[in-house]
Assembly symmetry: C2
Homo-oligomer: 419 residues x 2
């Protein structure tokens, strides 16, 4: 019986007691109106009601994080914080990602009894695994396709992100393939714009990929950004597969979890999941979702690779948050669902040691734009420096020491290092 | 040339100057890396770069709204606020809602140079109208289907929201149909759960709807919640249409704008757009989206009805925000795209006058759960009181005065009125 419930953990803030706030959250799932209506029997509540499983009190604050909360009579001025665990009967909504979202998130963010609500964890019963088979390739499949087993899969992003003439794009692919890179992806800004329609890009890119593979003996993995409307994505995927492509990318928040799950039904190559727009769901610390909860839904919906930002990135996110995202992606789900975390943004050889130290894994994709392409010795030297950074990290050798015997790493430190 | 750009207006907060922050926002759209890369020519920037169109300074604050911003050297402790208008060349992404989102939202919420960013308005060129035909029924079509022309379309929500036995649901439909209501909808929590699969609900509901129509001569509009995975929604829509149903509902944030646009391609009945989960995109005043911007995308994607919350609701949202949402939905787009705002949450006859006074329109759906169903005189009296509330509002007669001649309104005031 217990496994037939979904469990959600919320970080909440409330001018009421935590108990009262938890009751409102649970109640919003069974009646949803401001006045009692006929037919709401105890039996119905027992069968369909959400249940408060646990309340852990945290330190209160003296002002509300979010606007619009109301205060109870005689309010002492404190806004209580706590972690509240609520469970929901699965039969209310079934193993359906979109309907799960209406239940566990729904109107909760708008309640007046709360001045903050954030979904921080989520446990889903096996029924979800029966409906959503998860990543088709995942970590193992991606390693097999790239032939890289003992280190991170390393790659870069097409730069400039938009506007690169096809001939220049082809040259870039030839160059990074010659440099030995495992992977290259379109920028999230570059999908199917009229200046460079996907069909044209697929043809030009695959021509370069194949020519480079003939020369090097290794076919680089190219993630084509096929983000688009539902039918457009299907056509995009078909274009890529027919041309011999080996990866597609989508902006998950653009196509929705339903769009991703739909793509996953017919996809024949790994799906590279980009999470742009994610900031609006997570940057306010008392609102939205934490990534360890959200990534489970992305994995269910079929993301083989999943962006997690990077350590010391150009974005606001703390390193500890990035580390917990990487760890979350690598935590097994249903005995499978292996999604490869994609570490990117302001990355270079020097971000490898801290990433490895904090996560203890080489099961990541490590992407660098400028950190490879703008290396003083060129892309091949940039790639070499990235490998050297990870070699040092895994061997536990200080970067500077390792660099004394590896000139590409030395050059990278000179260019990108801060100290 | 100007019409081939998309214009986005952002409310921003930054420890830098507004000019610098605007440059970073615009720049994030053309290079997206932390170090200059080859190939980024002036010509490319001119052709593909985002452009700062206007900066309007607002009052600064002394502490950052969102965490994780970095401060410039010699920071004076102020976080500047302003409205920044940025335009993007359409050819970068084409008239595609999902790729538009990656461009106008993308990684912007995560920039360290900002301590707040919210998309408050959006202007889209005609090319979007050519690709997305918008609502098929809208206000006019919904009025035609319900036969209600001179007042709001009034309805209720199935309550209890989940767990109601089929026989009780049928009885409820018979009752509210006999009471004369125009419209009834599933709760957003009730879609296709195993305790009440959609197929079973469609059959039971339509049986009751048709029996009631035989008795009253008026077929109530029933919005079936078909929220689900992409294929599941298609099957759900087919079930509803084949059974003679006249409306489907989806939780837009659950199915995504792409899911909504896909449904809109084949829908044969109005699409009732529910916006649950919206709070996580909007409750932090310096993050996410404002509804007047977001509703344009929902209309493009085909929502015939669109939830906007209600005045004096049980939620955190201010009345002025609700009013601006209603007005935004009613503002013409591309000479059409008429979406009917759906006013709900803690609604009753007494919320009509303020709603009418602030918006000057009867082109809304006005939904009440308890406000109709829990009326002391029953559902028919609840419905009568709602109509009376709007009659008083449109005639400019104070509610109490009008109630002196209308007992149902009098009873409603006695039960739900605060003063």
């Amino acid at each position: 019986m217990e496994k037939e419930r979904v469990t959600a953990v919320y970080l909440i803030e409330t001018p009421y007691t935590l108990e009262r706030a938890a009751e409102v959250i649970a109640g919003e799932q069974s009646t949803g109106t401001f006045t009692a209506v006929p037919g709401e029997t105890d039996q119905l509540k027992e069968r369909h009601g959400a249940r408060i499983e646990q309340i852990v009190e945290l330190s209160p604050v003296s002002s509300p994080t979010l606007p619009g909360s109301k205060t109870p009579p005689g309010h002492d001025g404190l806004y209580r914080r706590g972690e509240v665990t609520i469970s929901f009967p699965l039969h209310n909504f079934g193993p359906s990602i979109p309907n799960l979202m209406s239940a566990i998130a729904g109107n909760l963010f708008e309640l007046q009894e709360l001045s903050g609500l954030r979904l921080v964890d989520l446990e889903l019963p096996e029924a979800f695994a029966a409906r959503y088979p998860g990543p088709k390739f995942g970590i193992a499949g991606t390693r097999q396709l790239t032939g890289v087993y003992d280190r991170p899969i390393m790659g870069t992003i097409v730069k400039p992100s938009i506007g690169l003439p096809m001939a220049d794009l082809q040259q870039m692919i030839m160059d990074v393939s010659a440099a030995g890179l495992d992977f290259i992806k379109d920028d999230e800004l570059n999908a199917n714009g009229s200046y460079a329609p996907l069909a044209q890009r697929v043809s030009a890119v695959m021509d370069a990929v194949n020519r480079a593979a003939d020369a090097t003996g290794k076919k680089i993995m190219y993630a084509f950004n096929i983000t688009g409307d539902i039918d457009e994505m299907e056509r995009g995927h078909e274009l890529v597969v027919k041309a011999g492509g080996n990866c597609v990318m989508v902006s998950i928040m653009s196509v929705g979890l339903t769009g991703l799950a739909h793509l996953s039904k017919y996809s024949e190559v790994p799906i590279h999941g980009h999470r742009n727009q994610w900031g609006m769901m997570t940057r306010c610390p008392l609102l939205g979702f934490a990534f360890p909860a959200y990534q489970k839904l992305c994995r269910l919906a079929g993301a083989d690779h999943l962006h997690v930002n990077g350590l010391d990135s150009k974005f606001y996110e703390s390193n500890s948050s990035v580390v917990s995202s990487i760890r979350a992606c690598l935590k097994p789900m249903y005995g499978g669902y292996g999604t490869m975390p994609v570490v990117s943004s302001a990355q270079w050889a020097g971000t490898a040691p801290a990433t490895y130290e904090a996560t203890g894994t080489v099961d990541v994709m490590h992407l660098a734009g400028g950190g490879i392409l703008a290396h003083p010795g060129g892309a091949a030297a940039g790639f070499a420096s990235m490998k050297q950074g990870w070699e040092a990290a895994v061997a536990g050798i200080p970067l500077a020491e390792y660099a004394s015997r590896h000139p590409e790493l030395q050059q990278a430190i000179a260019k990108y290092g801060k100290g």
